[in-house]
Symmetry: D2
Subunit: 318 residues, 4 copies
Amino acid sequence: MNEPCFDAAHLGHLELLTNRFEESLHFFVNVYGLTESGRDGDSVYLRAWDDYEFHSLKLTASNTTGMAHCGYRASSRAALERRVAVIERMNLGIGWSDGDLGHGPAYRFNSPDGHVFELYWETNKYEAPEAEKPALKNIAQRYHGRGVAPRRLDHFNLLATDVSKMRDFMVEALGSRVTEMIQLENGRIGGCWFTVNNKGYDMACTEDHSGASGRFHHITYAADHRDDILRAADIFLENGVFIETGPHKHAIQGTFFLYVYEPAGNRVEVANAGARLVLDPDWETVVWTEAERRKGQAWGLKTIESFHTHGTPPITKG
Amino acid sequence: MNEPCFDAAHLGHLELLTNRFEESLHFFVNVYGLTESGRDGDSVYLRAWDDYEFHSLKLTASNTTGMAHCGYRASSRAALERRVAVIERMNLGIGWSDGDLGHGPAYRFNSPDGHVFELYWETNKYEAPEAEKPALKNIAQRYHGRGVAPRRLDHFNLLATDVSKMRDFMVEALGSRVTEMIQLENGRIGGCWFTVNNKGYDMACTEDHSGASGRFHHITYAADHRDDILRAADIFLENGVFIETGPHKHAIQGTFFLYVYEPAGNRVEVANAGARLVLDPDWETVVWTEAERRKGQAWGLKTIESFHTHGTPPITKG
Amino acid sequence: MNEPCFDAAHLGHLELLTNRFEESLHFFVNVYGLTESGRDGDSVYLRAWDDYEFHSLKLTASNTTGMAHCGYRASSRAALERRVAVIERMNLGIGWSDGDLGHGPAYRFNSPDGHVFELYWETNKYEAPEAEKPALKNIAQRYHGRGVAPRRLDHFNLLATDVSKMRDFMVEALGSRVTEMIQLENGRIGGCWFTVNNKGYDMACTEDHSGASGRFHHITYAADHRDDILRAADIFLENGVFIETGPHKHAIQGTFFLYVYEPAGNRVEVANAGARLVLDPDWETVVWTEAERRKGQAWGLKTIESFHTHGTPPITKG
Amino acid sequence: MNEPCFDAAHLGHLELLTNRFEESLHFFVNVYGLTESGRDGDSVYLRAWDDYEFHSLKLTASNTTGMAHCGYRASSRAALERRVAVIERMNLGIGWSDGDLGHGPAYRFNSPDGHVFELYWETNKYEAPEAEKPALKNIAQRYHGRGVAPRRLDHFNLLATDVSKMRDFMVEALGSRVTEMIQLENGRIGGCWFTVNNKGYDMACTEDHSGASGRFHHITYAADHRDDILRAADIFLENGVFIETGPHKHAIQGTFFLYVYEPAGNRVEVANAGARLVLDPDWETVVWTEAERRKGQAWGLKTIESFHTHGTPPITKG
């Protein structure tokens, strides 16, 4: 059983690295349909039209790919302090950063697999410039309909050497609940789906067979309608974007999904969860067996092999 | 600003009264697509296919219509106790009931307008009988696709003589946040939208011009896709159900809506919110002016006049 | 009964006039999502992404608005000759034109209400330049997803003083079938829906109460999915385009519709017909009474009053 | 180039054989959502809600599976006579039958691969009994929303030893146009898509590698919306129906598809074509190479292997 803790309010943003910066930026803005909200050094800040914060994706030029860090917003200043105290006890802390264009002071810490997380309270809420003001005042920004145009950041997936360690970490450090998981016949956990709020998941972690640690699997934005996902497939097709798998419906979480690779190789999903929420405060983790997973996705599509092998940064042979 | 309190987890169920019991039951089961999960005295317990509790609608034969009570589930036993203490200080308490087929002990209390609320922790989680077992174990019940077939209870709307009193009540008693509201030019509040979790709203309250108190406006279930709402319109049409207004998109909350009257006259909505959530822990209430509301719904449909006059029970002339 | 004649293959294009040329062109390209395929004098040629001909809309700068002419493609050279012979016997002929960028020689003729029609066989099939080549070779042009982005020209609607004369004209001159019509209680025909092929209609004619003749009611492109119409509503909303009515489903023909005015005032629809076709070769005209029409559109929306009064060019008072 | 002939109006019905009659009937009525319109001997007549004729599927109890015959309706009595004269010259005629509950006299003939075709003019148009009368008079029958509930018969697919012979047959006998085809590197034709009207195809023929002749590949009904196909997948899943492949979008014809096997093993598709029509009277056949087909379906899904091997009746080993 996972009781909700509520200290972490929601996933706020990811920082992704790209070694093909201009191409990646073109993809995220013109094909995927995000909007640039700022630039700073080697980074461009990007956002979906109903993200309420300044940004949800910080795209940073680099000589490699993968995730530089992920950030969660706390539910209050006190909640942030409670979490920091817990994480310091876990000896995973890196320390405070000053924040960036998107938010105030952030406490950084490591996952057991070496991914960098941060927690912050003070945020820079998006104030739409005139050209981006929405017609309806209860959404953050104009719906421009350019490219895929998802609504908001939804979740991300990290690869890890030992998923069970990541499970303990997410539950203890962030107060996440484990909504679903895959129990392998060898006793290991194949994958875990976590949430800090009423979404079915905001983070997933699956086993990395490559021997590497700290790698990134994918980032996902939510679109309002399944038809947006189908339309996205046509947009990716016409723009020469590599479609890895989908559209189809996941058995786990029931998400209607579509996976592509952005030009630098980071995996990007666009998804729709329908009206699914996890409202039950004492939700019991749904545990899937290997036998159940062999049936494939909800309607029978087999899980694509590259899902278990492709991560960023890529494995360097030597 | 509305800080989240989290003591109330979510709206759990409504009890609606009908003076045309068999017709209302036929509507909810065969046209609207709910499933009967139990019977007790004059009541039938109904549920949507992904409600995790035993029921979300208790339909009770009566000589009138309207809402007998509404129930929220607490986030924990301690949260329930905290809320009861608050409500007792507010002098709105009715007292403890033993619960019913759907849940354990419930603390009942009055709204300032005379509606009956209850809060409970112990619940009877739905265990699907063989014929209702879903193909995928992470949903509560089989998707049968009969009639409209919404996924889960979403929200309800109460009429009140003085919306501002209801606003104070919802914030103080349940710890609700006010996500959107209508500020009338005469200084009164025309309507308020409340949430205890990450949904945009689970309860709405609008002004009753009739002089009556404690009346009911509508109950709403959420369907996964906008196409479900459009399909519902065809199903209502073919079954001779009175369509009051829609399908269209609300300006407030952005909900894609369709309103009908069930045979006894209670207003019933089926709706889709897309991927909208209120994740921001310090969300500021969106305040709409009368001038803004005169523009009608999102795409220009004028708010139907009966929306301000039709409630249950009806006003008896004398 | 209307037996199919097949001489006319399909509606090919309209020429619309605008006295706000740049604004209209911006609307059709950036908001409605057509593509420019050529320019000639005061005209720009526009096309939807799966129109197989060079253009389906010729937008011409003028000091007024309305339709300059409409063009149908014949099924063969022989079919064209048969039709011209019929029309000449009807004394409605204007004569041959050389065609334009979009097609070869066209025979022009008048409707009884003064609208200009043309029929042609030789056409300039669209050859996509490199940047417009589709990923799949069986569609005419790349799906760019810009703005509303409908698939192809669908139908148009003309106002007329006497719809019964237009009915006789369409049946005799083009070999159209009357698939549906409105029979008024005063003995007149309120509206007629015509087709030359398997579509439910490619032309509609409704009564003009203004006393003017030869006026234009609207042009319609077909989008693939209902969700495209709903998405169009958001795009129109965000771009400040006046939405006259919809989205909703017509009772007649069952079309899912949305009507707006382009900047110069010409009415433009985007619509979806689902899988509806008129395949029956001896389809009997569906005749609607006034009483039936008073029920409004399919799901109860009342037909908007401006539908009976707004046409282009506008009526000049004097 | 394929000039339209128009003598054949449209595909009217298939007669399918089943050796699991009750299970197949349950599938077609309760899961797929057709309606029974009559019974006669070992056959039940079935129809979709907007088929205008008495039936579109005759399901006949048998000791095997596959297609007993397919029927096309002619555009007029004269058109029927013209076609019969052509077919008799081709020496493929079987002769006249009296028709059945669904239609009048029909001329039967063989395909080069041994499939039985028939052409008829007189038909028994569906007259909805009271309980099946639609709310809107321009559709044939009430939309009940039971199961998948497609709108109308769309097309079928036959396996053949030599597709090129089938191509010549369809063009000469029925006046079909070849809208798309697959040209194999070995010089043979891998598949052909035919139409007699404005649909992209009403019949497809693909190569049978089994050595058998006269076999059946699949029958397809059209649903109005893509969401109907996605919803169908959930309905099939919950009812234990074997899903072979999909939902996904075909590269050829662009159809959004979903294939299942009914209980006796006949392949059944439900599909949506969007707004696609072949309106061009001199449409040139789109020819796909093997290299192009190796890219898979529109969004990259590989064509499932069983698509080339599973037909009905099954191949008997011995």
